[in-house]
């Protein structure tokens, strides 16, 4: 089967690679680019641990092919902080104890980041609706909402 050449900009860095059409975007980012911040939880589009922002749009990267990201700009959790300087949302997660095992956190951060970009002043209901695609097995969600609410203007 033929490989496809793709050019993808991930967190500001341009990568040129050959990918098989069957490769999911999450595997390309984790295995080929060694950016292992994004997680695979369910591999069925249910848990949101693999959430990334592709061309400004929040997606589950286990539900998209890498070849479909040709020419795209991709943002993952590694791209949020500026060096050691965490984003206000990341600091808020830390301050509010919004994670326990941390498995869901990369996806939660990407979903909340996408929300706050689009709507810097979300209501509680809007925060809940925006995080519906992200499952957390540890926190009971409460502290995650608190963390997002605290940075909502």
């Amino acid at each position: 089967m033929s490989d496809h050449p793709i050019t993808v900009t991930v967190n500001g860095v341009e990568y040129e690679r050959q990918v098989e059409a069957r490769k999911l975007l999450i595997h390309f980012v984790r295995d080929d680019l060694d950016l292992t911040g994004s997680h695979i939880g369910c591999d069925t589009g249910n848990c949101g641990a693999c959430s990334m922002i592709v061309n400004g749009t929040l997606v589950k990267s286990c539900m998209m092919l890498a070849v479909q990201a040709d020419g795209a700009t991709v943002e993952t959790v590694e791209g949020l902080a500026d060096g050691e300087e965490l984003t206000p949302l990341q600091k808020s997660f830390s301050e509010h104890h919004a994670l326990q095992c941390g498995y869901c956190t990369p996806g939660m951060l990407m979903s909340a980041t996408a929300l706050l970009r689009e709507n810097p002043s979300p209501s509680e209901d809007e925060i809940k609706k925006a995080l519906q695609g992200n499952l957390c097995r540890c926190t009971g969600y409460w502290n995650i909402f608190e963390a997002v609410k605290a940075v909502a203007r």
Partner: protein
């Protein structure tokens, strides 16, 4: 999950896409991928070639005609539909798609993919059947248009044949519509659902109870008439871990009443 080997084509026009589909029986359209990629992971289907429709502007966009008719391109995502000023002409559309799954799924999932998947638990097949949607199918021999009764043929089966594409969905003017569902969690998969529309003659379409939407035309939207129509349909829905056939039959009746009431109150 590693998918089975597959070829990939990203055509630049609908004509090119139809060409690739016609060349290979094992070619399959890839829309939002929010069903198809899971189906491929599960090896329930293993297409030889994926024909990616993303990038076909011809299949995007929502138009509102002077008489209130809406034409929605098959590749319009749920998120685009929710944001569209034109689509507000038929408010039920935006309301229902905003309850499909979550932001990520809505950002990629498409109107065309939802009906072409013809999953009996999907939200749009019964809605489209109730509001009198018409489906435009393009193929080597040009275009044809069919109604919901001809479009939905079975589980994962529609009137879109090998080598064909759904290009657009046309929806007549109206606003007296309702939709009710019992789901697995908020905005989850439907255990049972019902759509109703009072524009034109009253039409109720039940989802999750058969392979395709069950369309009923009760004598009136009154509760008694709606209940009688659902009972008269002698439903024989599947049982699964979420609901027995008996419970699903009960839900269908209750949800039909709720959807009809909502349609009446608008």
């Amino acid at each position: 999950m590693l998918l089975r080997e597959v070829e990939y084509a990203k055509p630049a026009s609908v004509a090119d896409a139809l060409g690739v589909l016609a060349q290979n029986d094992g070619a399959r359209a890839l829309a939002g991928g929010q069903t198809l990629i899971n189906v491929m992971k599960a090896r329930a289907a293993s297409p030889d070639v994926l024909v990616d429709l993303n990038g076909l502007d011809e299949l995007k966009g929502i138009e509102l005609a002077g008489d209130g008719t809406l034409t929605i391109g098959a590749m319009t995502t749920y998120t685009e539909l929710m944001a569209s000023a034109e689509a507000k002409a038929r408010p039920i559309l935006g309301e229902v798609v905003s309850t499909i799954a979550d932001v990520q799924v809505r950002n990629r999932g498409t109107i065309g993919g939802n009906v072409c998947a013809s999953d009996p638990t999907n939200h749009l097949p019964p809605l489209m059947a109730a509001i009198g949607a018409r489906f435009t199918i393009a193929g080597a021999n040009g275009e044809r248009e069919v109604g919901a009764d001809e479009f939905f043929l079975g589980v994962y089966m529609t009137a879109v044949g090998v080598g064909e594409l759904l290009t657009k969905i046309t929806i007549p003017a109206g606003k007296h519509d309702g939709f009710a569902a019992v789901t697995l969690g908020v905005d989850g998969t439907c255990i049972a659902n019902a759509a109703a529309s009072l524009d034109g003659s009253l039409r109720i379409a039940l989802g999750c109870v058969d392979a395709v939407p069950v369309v009923l035309e009760p004598a009136s939207a009154d509760e008694a008439a709606v209940r009688e129509a659902v009972r008269g349909a002698a439903l024989d829905p599947p049982s699964d871990v979420h609901a027995t056939a008996e419970y699903r039959t009960h839900l269908a009746e209750v949800l039909a009443v709720r959807a009809a009431r909502q349609a009446q109150e608008r």
